[in-house]
Structures are given as structure tokens and as C-alpha cells.
Symmetry: C2
Subunit: 135 residues, 2 copies
DNA sequence: CTCATTGCAAATGATTTGCAAGAAA
DNA sequence: TTTCTTGCAAATCATTTGCAATGAG
């Protein structure tokens, strides 16, 4: 979209990407904002949103738009699936699950030019399962 | 959740379900509100939301929580997949696509008790494709 | 009578945007 | 310089909620 525009290397952008890369927790924009704030106390949440959007457009990071939930961000650009815990909301990677059966689908269904799909598993994470057994 | 509570048959609830059932367009709450308002001019958007939620909890209708988009509602309670047009936002049913390959997955992955998944295709609908060719 | 439900308005929560000041290139 | 970016605050958008009044059973 904006391939022709010169993007500048700002301190903010660099640190946002650095901190996101350190995390495997798929933070929300606000969570990442709170982390980045430790290094850049003056940064604003709006800047975090703008940069995450830009990095996503450039394919450097991935935006996980979870059904009915706050978006989360993933520094791993390689496509892979995710599981969301219905209890605590955490999101984990599912590297083992191949997404091939869906990729094989025809590119045109019912007249639609299919561009892709969103697939998201949900369930109870090990931690919350352990807690619920304690009841 | 509320199986023990007595639900009352209100005019509002009846008409909301009636109108939703007439539609195959998977309306948003606001779209349905505007339709229902023709029969019940005093109804409020909040009432529409509350009833759609209740009907969903009771398994009478389906709430489609689309990644990063407004929720839409479907009077067909039988599970089936959907495609969303990235141009105009409309959502259509995909009755032909079986979702079996995913159902066969193990119930526990990486420690997660998998309860289900959200799968949503996206692409360009026939109508928008026709328009874009005209450029 | 009771209490689920409604209409209304205000509140919430996530995300976006307008704008003047600041900083890359 | 030029113009992309930022910080800040206000705006937006979907959805939820508090509350007094209403109505179904």
C-alpha cells in the first residue's frame, strides 16, 4: 500500500519492534505499550498502535485479529496457527498443526475469489485447567 | 448458563427473531435494529443486543464473531462456514465446505483442552469482483 | 404480585484521528 | 528544508450497563 513512502527509523519504532521480538506472549497493543514505556516513558499508546499497524503492513510482524477479542501482535512473520485460552485470554503458538488441508481448497468458491482464511483454536490452557481441577 | 431462569416471550424478542429468520444476509446488530424498528419504532439498540445475546446463548441463533470486524448474526443454528468479502464486508454461507478435517484433530494440543475453533474465509465477492474489473 | 425485560442515556473499551511541535533524511 | 512521526487529547465505533418504568406469567 505504502511501498513508495519512505519510512523513517525512529527510536519509537525500533524499540517497539525490539520489545515485541523478545516476547512469545503475543501481547495486545496496550500490554506492549506498558513494556515499551519502561524504556520510553513519554511514548503514547497512539504511537504504539500506529507502528504496529505499519509493521504489519510491511509484513514484519503479524496482527492476530481474534474473533470477538482484542488484537494481539506476533513478531514471527511466518504463518502459523494459534490457540486462545477461553479462561485467561492468553494466546499460544501451535507450530505442530499444519494448515495444509485448508490451503488445498479451491481458490474460487461460490463465486468468491478466496484470498485466505482465519483459523483460530480455542480451549483451556494447561494453567487454567490445573486451577479448575482444584475446585 | 441461565437454563433455570424463565425467559419471557416479549414482542421485541419475537419480532427480532422473526426478522432475522427472514434474512440470509447475516446482519449486524445495528442493521437488524433498523429493520426491526420498522415494526417496533420505539425499540432500542440495547434491546436488540440483549436479545441477540440471549438467543445465541440458547442456541437458537448463531453469533458470528469475525476477526477484526463487527459481529453478525445468523438464524441458522446448524454449524457451517462463512466467507466475508474484503471489499464490501458482506458475509455469505459456505454450505459446501465440510469442516471435518479440523474436527478430527486431537482434543488436546500442547496441553490445551481444545474446545473448538473459528474458521472464516475471506476474499472478493462476485459483485465486487465484477466492479473491480470495470476499472 | 414478581421479576424478567425494556427504553434511554451514560459508560466502557479498543482503536483511530486531528493537529501543532519535533526529528529523521 | 521537507515531510514523516510523535504526543496529546478528543473522537469514533461497537457493545455494555445502570436504572426506573413496564409488562409477562
Amino acid at each position: 500500500m505504502k511501498d513508495h513512502v519512505a519510512h523513517r527509523n525512529t527510536k519509537q519504532r525500533t524499540i517497539i519492534l525490539e520489545e515485541l521480538t523478545k516476547l512469545t506472549s503475543h501481547p495486545t497493543a496496550t500490554e506492549l505499550y506498558n513494556i515499551v514505556r519502561k524504556r520510553l516513558p513519554k511514548i503514547s499508546l497512539g504511537t504504539v498502535y500506529r507502528n504496529l499497524e505499519l509493521l504489519t503492513e510491511n509484513g514484519i510482524i503479524q496482527k492476530l485479529e481474534l474473533a470477538g477479542n482484542e488484537s494481539r501482535f506476533d513478531a514471527m512473520a511466518v504463518r502459523h496457527n494459534h490457540v486462545r485460552c477461553v479462561e485467561c485470554g492468553r494466546v499460544d503458538d501451535l507450530m505442530d498443526i499444519p494448515d495444509d488441508p485448508l490451503i488445498e481448497r479451491p481458490a474460487i468458491i461460490d463465486g468468491y475469489r478466496i484470498e485466505g482464511y482465519n483459523l483460530e483454536f480455542y480451549g483451556v490452557c494447561p494453567h487454567c485447567y490445573k486451577k479448575s481441577k482444584g475446585k
